[in-house]
């Protein structure tokens, strides 16, 4: 897969922030099924899904709301235990959430009583690192997301976009092998979202960690990802696995290129047929 070649080159750059993700971040999802509820009320959120995500790859899980994409992400994060099947990260079975898998939520996930600096240093702090080390890690990541000026502010004093940058920095401050993002830009306005996407790609190109990014926005998925996984609704499963052959660095103007449009059309058709199916099922 040509995608992997690109991501390997990226790892050399990861050194700049001391990223240790070179070779780490291999995510294997094996026959995962997730059911919620019991007996007749049981709902199948994810059905027998298998995926192999090589280290350093940027993957988007794309699908309509309620298709189980967040559930699948939560299995990798360790919040949801699969009813059947296993999730492996670097060969180890996921049992609970852990600092090797950084998580970025949609919004309001920063600790409001901690300054931006202390939010970012939270991971190193609970890991028992010394004050000086925490502070130097915080400085590194404050600089990375361009928020050094706001180090001593509280989250509520920052805009939504800035808060999400802090959320990304906080997750990366643990040097995770995988970064899990659950519609992180969903609550932002279109302009901010575009800036955040470019910003995220820049950070990723320097960091080289594996990213699993959940979104329902087709443009966002194609713009960001090496690979787009389209998910179907109830029961959730991956129905299309599309490589994104667009060159990097990705530029905003690519969103109108023929290649991009072709991919978008493919994704939209898949999603549309799936949404219709889901719609009809709800009607019954």
């Amino acid at each position: 897969m040509n995608v992997q070649v690109v991501s390997l080159e990226r790892h050399s750059k990861a050194k700049r922030y001391g990223g240790k993700s070179g070779g780490r971040g291999h995510v294997e999802i094996k026959d995962v099924t997730v059911r919620f509820g019991h007996g007749a009320d049981a709902q199948q959120a994810v059905k027998e899904t298998s995926l192999d995500i090589p280290p350093g790859q940027f993957v988007c899980l794309l699908g309509p709301s309620g298709c189980g994409k967040s559930t699948l992400l939560n299995c990798v994060a360790g919040y949801v235990k699969p009813s059947a099947g296993t999730v492996l990260v670097d060969g180890e079975t996921v049992k609970e959430p852990g600092p090797d898998r950084g998580m970025v939520f949609q919004q309001y996930s920063l600790f409001p009583w901690k300054t931006i600096r202390n939010n970012i240093a939270f991971g190193p702090m609970v890991a028992g690192r010394g004050h000086t080390e925490c502070s130097s890690i915080a400085n590194t990541f404050l600089e990375m997301v361009g928020l050094t000026r706001f180090a001593d502010r509280y989250p509520a004093e920052l805009s939504g976009g800035m808060q999400q940058r802090v959320g990304i920095a906080r997750a990366l401050a643990n040097y995770p092998s995988v970064l899990l993002m659950d519609e992180p830009f969903g609550a932002l306005d279109a302009q901010t979202r575009l800036m955040m996407q470019e910003n995220l790609l820049k950070i990723w190109s320097e960091f080289g960690t594996t990213v699993v990014f959940v979104t329902h926005d087709v443009d966002e998925a194609i713009f960001l990802a090496d690979r787009v996984l389209v998910m179907s609704a109830s029961p959730g499963s991956v129905i299309a696995d599309l490589a994104v052959p667009l060159p990097r660095p990705r530029l905003a103007k690519m969103a109108t290129a023929p290649d991009f449009m072709q991919l978008k059309k493919q994704c939209l058709e898949q999603i549309r047929s799936e949404s219709l199916k889901a719609f009809e099922q709800q009607d019954r």
Binding site: F105, F111, W113, F122, V126, A156, R170
Partner: protein, 250 residues
Amino acid sequence: MAISLGALLAGLVLWHLVTLYKLDFYIDFENVPSPVRVGSSFLAHLATQDFYIHIGVSMQRIMTGYLLAAVLGITAGVVMARSRIARAAIYPYIEILRPIPAVAWIPLAILMWPTEESSIIYITFLGALFPIVLNTLHGVEQTPEVLVRAARSLGASRLQILWHVVLPAALPSIAAGLAIGMGVSWFSLLAGEIISGQYGIGYFTWNAYSLINYPDIVVGMLVIGGLGTLSTYAVRLFMRPFLAWQRRAR
């Protein structure tokens, strides 16, 4: 500010007038002391040592009972919010005991506790306990789930989550409980002091009535009001640094 001062001044003048003319219109002002007599009585007391002993004894009882209630109340609230078993075991007691006013406890407290002092402190403690427990419980339950999940994914242990996430999230509610608890604590203390004890500002007030020293009744009342307000303010002041992040948010 000017309006408030003016209103207070008007009230003072009205008080002066009704006592001056000994107004007796359903409410009898015949024996109500005038503001001037209360003021001079207050000034006279400021020069005596006894007056400070009364205040000191009351403050000490408040401090002891209230601090015990704060420690035990916050602990119980957190434990109940975090453990279903503890909640099922403790909550019924709170439901049964909470509606019983402090005054109703006095006879039993005197019988139960070895000294009068300890029974008064017990009543003070009880008054502060319930608002603190319930507000802590409520506050801990309000902790946003996403913050707990974020902390878990960042590698925090259960204890670290409690200390760095759950307690700070509950703190605004705990602070409210502490402030309310302080008010109820004074209320309960006074009830205890009026009925038993040889010292304390509640005893001072009730004693003034027994001795037909009417200005002192009002002196006692005003001192109680002042101390109650001051101590509630002190609680808020103490909690302030911990809630700095909240004010910034606005």
